[in-house]
Structure formats: C-alpha cells, structure tokens
C-alpha cells in the first residue's frame, strides 16, 4: 500500500474521530436533561461509527467489478428508495428525507450520490467515444437528472452537488461543451421563471447578501453562524465552551457544525480543519489523475469531486459565502447516513487507488 494512501486514510480517520467528539460535545449541551440523554446520544454515535466502519472496510475490500455488474439493479433500488420516502418517509425539521429503519434513520439521497457516480463511471466506460453523440448522452443524462429532481424536492443542496458532479463526469466522458453551455443557459432560464413565479424567492438572495437585515427571520441561521465564528476570534473560546451551540445556532451538530468548531477553536482551528479538507481534496485529485484504468479514473474523480464540492458548499454556507442551502460537512457532521455514505466513498476510492496502482506497477 503506498505511503500516500496510508497518510490519506490517517487524515480521514482523524476527521471522523474529531467529528464524533464535536458532535457529542454539542449534543450533550443541547439536550435539556443531559444525564438522561447522554447515554442515548452516545449509543447513537457508536452505532453510526460501527456502520461507517463496516461500510468502509467492505467498500475497501470489495471487488469493484461486482458492483459494476450490479449497477443497474442498484440504480433501480435507490430510485425506489427515493420514491419510497414520499410515501413512508419520516419528517424531520420540515423535510421528508428519511426512512425510519428503527435502528437508524436511512437517508436514501446520501446513497444516491455514490450510486450515481458508479453508474456514470460505468456508462462512460462502456460508451467511451460515443459519449459525444447527443442520442447516446440523452439517456444517462435524463436518468441522472430525474434522480436529481426527485432528490431536489426535499434536499436541494444534495441534488445540486450530485448534479454538479454528474455534469463534470459527463464533460470528462465526452459531452460536448455546446451542450454544457446550453445546459447552463437552460438552468438560468428555469431559475428566472421560478423567481418570476414566486417573487419572494428573490428574497433568499437578498437575505444571503445581507443576512443581518433579516436576523430575526430568514437570516437567523446565518447571523448566528457568523456570531459563533466571530466569537471564536483568533484562538477560540476553548473546547466545550461554545455559547452558540446552546440552542442559538440551529443545526449546530449537523449543517452548521463548522461554526461551532470555529467558535471553540478559533481561526487557528477553523483554518486547520479547512486545510485538512483541502489536503484530502488535493491528494484525492492526485490519486484520480494518476489512475490508468478509465473506470478507476471516473470513479475516483467522481468521489473526490463530490466530497470536495460538498465540503466547499458546507463551508461556503457557514461563512455566508453561499446562500443558505444546508448540506452536511463530510466526516464531521452528525448523521448516520451521511457518515456511512462518506465512508463508503472513501473506501471505494482507496480500493480503486490501491488496486489500480498495484496493476500499474505489475
């Protein structure tokens, strides 16, 4: 196993563990009667960690060819699951993204990410040069778009991340730039129409530009996030001393966990965490670019890009660089499905990297 893979794994493992500690730290203080609920929080986290660990090991050891041959059924399965959430989904915080499996809350959109990447990698490798032809492109693009639309109903952030990753993979696979340009134009048109239909949607942009004007309403979360970060200052208020996690900042343990990291560990800690993500991303990009096998290239590119974009969007939202569209911070944020899906992705990434480099040097 190359040394870089070991380093990559080490950094990834450290982030997961840091996430565990931070989530516990936040959740314990949010509950009203800590003594009664600490155990259930701890149990939930340990359970999540176990699933994630098993997922990672399985993905790392699994023969990717097997997954490739099943990809059509997996795709069908995930679409069914996504549709099922509309029927038997459980509502949390106003959106229905979860299926209650009783031992965990399954969020199919999280797994759709990986399935879409696998599917596109497989399709592109099969069609190769034919991807430039419009008729060949239309089917996979349509399918992925359908999945994205289904996800977008309840979880716009994840849908956008999948869509961006998918477009990149298609572009790499040979999609013409004129289609890409047309797609951009089409998107702008749709957005304009949506805004014209309901003008208050424009307010989202206004809120993003100046959340302080709306600090008691739509801008509340972003304002609280900025206050938390700002309170941290250069070196932070110290581990466990966050004030804003105490019900001030909604989603403190999930989408806005980075704000609490910034509050407790300050600019130094926040920068270190961003640097860790950048390191993982740059190393991932390097891994992807050194792949010889086309499938390995597309799979690793998709995974690295998706996780990178997700982290970037999360950080962008927390720092008000982007409008508020919540996505979890990979590895760190609370959420069993999110953690499991991230670990599966890293597992598959390291799997193809190790397998491919072994075949390259043989």
């Amino acid at each position: 196993m190359p040394r870089s893979v070991k380093f990559y794994f080490g950094l990834f493992f450290l982030l997961v563990m840091f996430g565990m500690v931070m989530v516990f730290n936040i959740k314990v203080f949010v509950v009203s009667r800590p003594d009664a609920q600490v155990f259930s929080i701890l149990r939930g986290q340990i359970l999540n960690l176990c699933f994630a660990g098993i997922g990672f090991v399985a993905a790392y050891l699994m023969n990717v060819e097997v997954v490739r041959s099943w990809i059509k059924y997996l795709l069908l399965f995930i679409i069914l699951l996504l549709l099922a959430t509309f029927v038997i989904g459980t509502e949390v915080n106003g959106s229905t993204r979860w299926i209650n499996l009783h031992f965990m809350m399954l969020q199919p959109s999280e797994f759709a990410k990986l399935v879409v990447i696998f599917y596109l990698a497989e399709v592109i490798c099969n069609k190769r040069e034919r991807m430039g032809i419009f008729q060949e492109l239309i089917y996979p693009f349509g399918l992925v778009s359908a999945i994205v639309v289904v996800i977008a109903v309840e979880d716009l952030g994840t849908a956008l991340i999948i869509f961006a990753t998918a477009i990149t993979l298609l572009l790499m696979g040979g999609m013409r730039f004129k289609y890409f340009a047309a797609l951009i134009a089409l998107s702008l048109l749709v957005v304009t129409i949506l805004i014209l239909m309901k003008p208050y949607r424009l307010e989202r942009i206004k809120v993003w530009r100046d959340p302080w004007k709306y600090k008691q309403a739509q801008g509340y979360q972003q304002v609280q996030s900025e206050i938390a970060l700002g309170r941290g200052g250069p070196t932070g208020v110290g581990f466990g001393n966050s004030q804003r996690k105490l019900r001030y900042l909604p989603e403190a343990s999930t989408d806005f966990i980075f704000a609490i990291v910034g509050e407790e560990f300050g600019f130094v800690g926040a920068t270190a965490l961003v640097a860790a993500f950048m390191t993982l991303f740059v190393m991932g990009v390097y891994f992807a670019l050194s792949r010889g096998d086309p499938f390995a290239l597309y799979l690793s590119s998709g995974i690295v890009l998706l996780l990178g974009i997700q982290a970037a969007i999360n950080l962008g939202v927390v720092t008000s660089t982007l409008p508020n569209k919540g996505v979890p911070l990979p590895f760190i944020s609370y959420g069993g499905s999110s953690l499991l899906s991230s670990c599966l992705m890293i597992g598959f990434l390291l799997n193809v990297v190790v397998t491919d480099s072994r075949s390259q040097y043989q």
Binding site: S32, L171, M172, Y200, I227, R231, R247, L289, L315
Partner: protein, 697 residues
C-alpha cells in the same frame, strides 16, 4: 485519457479556489469582525450582582442545622401590562391564586408589586413556557408575514402577550431552612423573612460571615424550544458566604432537649435550660432551652421564647458556689484534712449578722460541710482566706468575666472589687450570693475543677469555611488561663462531690457503674415587692460532671419555677442523670442498667437554704444582688429604648433595624431581673413619614 484529466483538473482547481475564498471569509469573520460579533454574543449574557447564598450551619459532625435554599418570588409591574385580564388569568392559573386578587393587584399603580412569595418551580415553568410558545409562534408568523393566509390580528395579539409577559417578574432569593426543626433554635436564632439577614442568635452574631457579600453572576439566556427558555449561571467573582461549623453535637443536643422538655412539661416549670461542655477543650456540646421556637416561623412565637436564657439570664449561683470558695481555701492550705468545724446548731453570728443552716449540726468534717452544704461551715472556712485571695480565685474560675461565646446578649456582671466588700459580703459571696452568673460561666468554672485547673474560653463556633474554596475564614482559637491545684485538692473536692451524689442531696443524679460528681442548688427568688426571698418561686439547679474519674461531660441543668415543692435534687438532678445515661455510650462509656427504682430522697436531700442571712435585708446593702425592674420600652425609638435600658442597668440586644422603633421586648416590662441582664428587643422600621428631627437625645 488526457482530455478528461484536463477537464477534471480544471474543475478541481475551481473547487480549490473556492476553498481559498472560504478561508478568506473565515479570516474576515473571525479576525477582522471578531470584536463586533463578540458584542452580539455578549448581548445574550448579562452580568449581574446577586446576594450570595447564605452560609449553612453545621454541627460538629457536619450535620445540617440551617441551610439556605433558592426561592423565587412572583411579582408584576402593573404599569407595563396592558392586557391585565389576560395576564391575570395566565398568572393566577400557574401560581394557583385567585384570579380576581391578581387582577386587583394588576389594576393598582406602581412598577413593582409582589403577587406571591416562594412560588413553586412549576409556576415559573408554566409562565415561561407560555411566553416561549407565544414567542415561537410570533416568530413563525413574522417569517410568513406578507404570505397568503397570515393573520395580522393574530400576530398583534401574540406580540402583545409576549410584551406583557415580560412584566411578570421572578425575583430570585433564598429561604432559610432549619431541617432539624426546633433543635438548637435559641442558639441558632432566626433570619428575617424580609431580607434574609440574621436577626437572632448565631444567625445575628455571625451574620457578617454567614450572609457573605455580593456575587457577580454571568447569566446566559438560552432561547427556548419546546421546553422553554433556559438560563445558565456562572459565577465570575465576588465574595461567597461562609459555612459555619459549631462545636455542638446534634445527637447530644437532641437527647438533651428531649430530657429537658420532658421535665419542664412534667413540672410545668416556667423555663428550663441545659448547658453541656467538654471539660477537656471548653467546647460546648449542647445548649438547650425550653420553651423554644421554630426558627422558620419565628414570627408566631413571643420574643421571650426566642431568648437564649442560658447566656442571657443571670442568677445567683447559691450553694453550688461553695465548691469554689472551699476549693480556694483548700488550695491555700488553710484547711487541714480531718479538721472539724462547729456547726453551731444552725445559727452563727458573723459580721454582725446571724447565719443559718436549715439543718443545724454540731461538729462537721470538711466533707460533711460540703455534702450537707453547710453555710456556717463554709463561712468559717472561707473566713481564713483574705478577701483579696477569694477575689483572685473567683477570677481564676472565671466569675465576673464574660464567657466570650459569640452569642448575642450574653449577660455578665463584674465582681464587686474586694476593697468595696463589707465583712458580710465575703460570707455572702462564699455561699453564692451577692454575685450573678450565667449558666455558661458556671459550667466553665466546674470544668476547671475536672480538667486539672484549665479555665477555657468556652467555644461554640468551631470554624467558618468558604464552601467553594475550602478556605478557613474564621476559627476559634480558645484561650485559656491556668489555676495550679496544690496538694491534690482538686481530687479531694471531686471525691467530696461524688459523695454529694452517692449520699447527699443529689441521689437522683447517680448512675450505676459510672461515677458521678455534682452539686445541687435550690435558690429562692427575691420578691422586690415583699422585699424578701420567696419559697413560692425557686430556681432548681444541678451542676455536675460524669464520669467524675475521667470526665467526658460537664453539665448544668436549671429548672426555673417548677410547680409544687421541688428542689435541685428532685427536678434538675434526674434530668442530668437521664442525659448522662443516654449520651455516655456516645463516648464509649458503659452505663449499667438500673435494676430498681431510685431510692426515695432522704430528708437530707431536702436541705437547701438560700436565705441564710436573716436581717440582711434591712441593712445598707438591702438586696444581696442588685436587681432591676425592666422598664417599658415597647413603642419607643430604638436609640431611646437602649438609653432607657442602659440607664436602668440593663444590656440590650437589638434584633432588627437600629433606626426603627421597638415592637417587642423580652423580658417584659415590670419583670425583676439581676443587674446587667440583657434585654432582647425586636425593632421594626417605622412606616410612613420619616422620624421627626430632634427625637434622639
């Protein structure tokens, strides 16, 4: 594969650039806007100054005697509330009070009115929850403002409700709890229900340590979700109150009080008191009064029941004093063992007056003088001692000196200087008349005999400790003076006192298997109207130590004005015995069970005399000890009352504001008390207009 890698590289570079943008944003927020944003976070915190929680009082084993617990009072600001009916309904329901009553309070003018003191936590929670729910819905409506279906009237109503509920005020305070009820009440004292300051007993004398200072609290307000808002307090500075540890042992105190109560009830006595001291250290182990009171509702008890008579009352020690005067003569080697004294068959001329013994005897040994409590014998023995020496010895036994206990209102009177004594005064003093002492002084003096000559400054306060830091704030360092006993006179006197119990007047104090030494006392009270001592009102006492060969306890029992013809040996000694029997096992001393009833008291035991000098009332020093009639000071200004009382020769302990007027006094006006007794007065701030100028002299 070059093309796809190039495209991927470009997209990845874009993501990387975005990461850098994020870093720049973080820099902007965390470094450049740090101070600006920090102000917002401090806005949800308030730093306020609160009174420190009053320190607790513990016994010597750490058992809680008094403790303060948080209390919340419910108040309103009637000026701020607009929808009075709506608020009245919410508050009345939560607090369980009459809605009309609340409404009446709300309709009055003013910025602050109490609705109910010491409300339940549930009440606070309900009101806060109502507000939080209204606020939550208000936020929701504000968010949807302008959208279809949002009701503007609803929003206004909620905004009004939230604003009104802000004027429902919760006042944090403390309530004083005495978990042991009446136990040690007269010593502990009580605290004001109004402002929590100590008004009596130790609560008053150690108020400085117990009440502590002001604490700086940083209170973080946490917005509510379903469970209502939370407030997290963090102490950031200020002075904590100290916890007080006493030398009192609650277990012994409980036994003492039980036995005392039993006897006082049985004899329908006016008052009874017990003081128990460890002779080896001067530490007080118990200090009991009956009648007593419950400190938590002190207002329902007359002031007289709240006095600590064991230190506040002065009395003439009577026969018990003979122990000390004879001991002085023995220590100066002026009495030889086996020497005989002529009892003159009950009448003896001395200093121009006739001294009587109730049971006249012929020749008596020294031991018989003590056991029979012979006045005539005592006078002859003490006459060999120079007045100066007797005066010095009394000083070494602590008479005429305050005990130094930090209890308010200890009465004490200086000994008259020996140069001012008339010849008869020496005789008087030798058998305990013409001087006044309190119970603690007596116990302290007896401890000198039983611990080999050490005069301890008695202690009741062991230490005061800062409950947070564990820092010692105050500690009693007992001071002591020594009296050197020569020729084993202390052993001889202890032996004679054992005889008093085994053969003399104090048979009822005897225990099986344990040596008890002691002396009874029965004093007639002086009736100033008839200008003579009266047999109708007597003070019965017993003072003793147990086990007398290795004393663990020195104790004095006083039963004041028992009904019927009673003596120290019949009412005080049994209390001593019962207390000793039950407490000695706590010290590892085995007490055998008594096989049979105590033998009936022989005639000897009923020998007591307190008016031994006939005709003394007609002389210049008409009263053996100066007595004072307590003046009426109720209703007067405190300064005036103190002046009046001091002029009459009384000390004053003021419970309450020094600028107020006297509401109650104890003892009541017209009572005859020894000169130097301390009077307890309860004062209140005068209501209405300020005091007219020139009131004070």
């Amino acid at each position: 594969m070059k093309r796809e890698k190039r495209i991927f590289g470009v997209i990845a570079a874009l993501v990387l650039v975005f990461f850098l943008v994020v870093l720049y944003r973080i820099y902007g927020i965390q470094i450049l806007r740090h101070e600006e944003l920090d102000r917002y976070s401090s806005a949800s915190e308030i730093v306020k100054t609160v009174k420190a929680r009053r320190g607790a009082i513990y016994d010597r084993n750490g058992e809680v005697l008094a403790i303060s617990e948080p209390r919340v009072d419910l108040a309103v600001d009637p000026n701020g509330i607009r929808d009075k009916k709506g608020i009245a309904a919410i508050v009345a329901k939560a607090a369980g009070i009459d809605e009309q009553k609340v409404l009446r309070t709300l309709e009055r003018k003013g910025n602050f009115r109490y609705l109910k003191k010491d409300v339940a936590y549930e009440t606070v929670r309900q009101i806060q929850e109502t507000r939080e729910k209204a606020l939550g819905r208000l936020r929701e409506l504000e968010r949807r403002r302008g959208e279809a279906g949002s009701d503007e009237n609803d929003r206004k109503r909620l905004a009004q409700l939230v604003a009104d509920l802000n004027y429902v005020i919760f006042v944090d305070g403390f309530k004083r709890i005495y978990p042991q009820g009446k136990l040690l009440a007269n010593v502990l004292g009580w605290v004001s229900q109004h402002d929590g300051e100590g008004l009596g007993g130790l609560e008053m004398s150690l108020n400085k340590h117990l009440s502590g200072g002001e604490l700086k609290i940083r209170r973080l307000y946490i917005p509510g979700s379903g469970e209502g808002a939370l407030e997290i307090d963090k102490e950031v500075g200020g002075q904590q109150a100290g916890d007080l540890y006493l030398t009192i042992d609650a277990a012994i105190q409980a036994i003492v009080e039980e036995e005392l109560d039993r006897m006082v009830e049985k004899t329908k006595a006016k008052w009874g008191g017990v003081v128990v001291m460890d002779p080896a250290s001067g530490r007080l182990l118990a200090m009991a009064n009956n009648p007593s009171f419950h400190p938590e509702d002190y207002r329902h008890y007359p002031l007289e029941k709240r006095r600590n008579h064991t230190v506040a009352d002065l009395f003439e020690p009577g026969s018990t004093m003979k122990i000390f005067s004879i001991l002085a003569a023995m220590n100066e080697n002026l009495v030889r063992p086996g020497e005989l004294f002529d009892g003159h068959h009950g009448a003896f001329r001395f200093g121009g007056r006739t001294i009587h013994d109730t049971h006249g005897k012929g020749l008596m040994t020294l031991e018989e003088v003590v056991v029979h409590s012979s006045n005539i014998g005592t006078v002859q023995i003490v006459d060999r001692l120079a007045s100066e020496k007797l005066y010095d010895y009394f000083g070494l036994f602590g008479f005429g000196k305050r005990s130094g206990l930090q209890l308010p209102g200890e009465s004490a009177r200086d000994l008259r200087h020996y140069k001012k004594w008339y010849p008869i005064d020496k005789a008087n003093l030798s058998f305990g008349q013409g001087l006044s002492v309190n119970m603690v002084q007596m116990v302290r003096a007896l401890a000198v005999l039983y611990n080999g000559g050490v005069l301890w400054q008695p202690t009741i306060i062991d230490r005061v400790i800062d409950p947070v830091g564990g820092r010692l704030l105050y500690e009693t360092v007992p001071s002591l003076t020594r009296l050197e006993f020569r020729y084993n006179v202390d052993k001889k006197m202890i032996g004679m006192m054992d005889t008093v119990v085994s053969k003399g007047t104090a048979l009822q104090a005897a225990l099986k298997g344990v040596k008890v030494g002691g002396k009874t006392g029965t004093s007639q009270k002086y009736d100033p109207q008839k200008r003579k001592y009266s047999w109708d009102e007597v003070v019965c006492s017993f003072i003793g130590a147990v086990p007398s060969d290795n004393p663990k306890l020195v104790m004095m029992v006083v039963i004041d004005e028992p009904q019927g013809k009673e003596y120290g040996g019949t009412v005080a000694a049994p209390v001593f015995r019962e207390i000793a029997k039950r407490t000695l096992p706590l010290f590892g001393v085995y007490v055998e069970k008594e096989a049979k009833e105590i033998a009936p008291i022989p005639e000897l035991a009923v020998e007591e005399a307190s008016a031994p000098i006939e005709g003394s009332l007609e002389g210049k020093e008409a009263t053996p000890v100066d007595v004072v009639t307590v003046p009426a000071i109720e209703g007067a200004a405190v300064s005036r009352a103190v002046y009046t009382a001091n002029q009459a020769g009384l000390d004053v302990v003021v419970s309450g504001p020094a600028s107020g007027i006297v509401r109650r006094q104890a003892p009541a006006s017209g009572t005859v008390v020894p000169y130097g007794t301390s009077v307890l007065i309860e004062s209140e701030e005068e209501k209405g207009e300020a005091e007219p100028a020139g009131e004070e002299e």
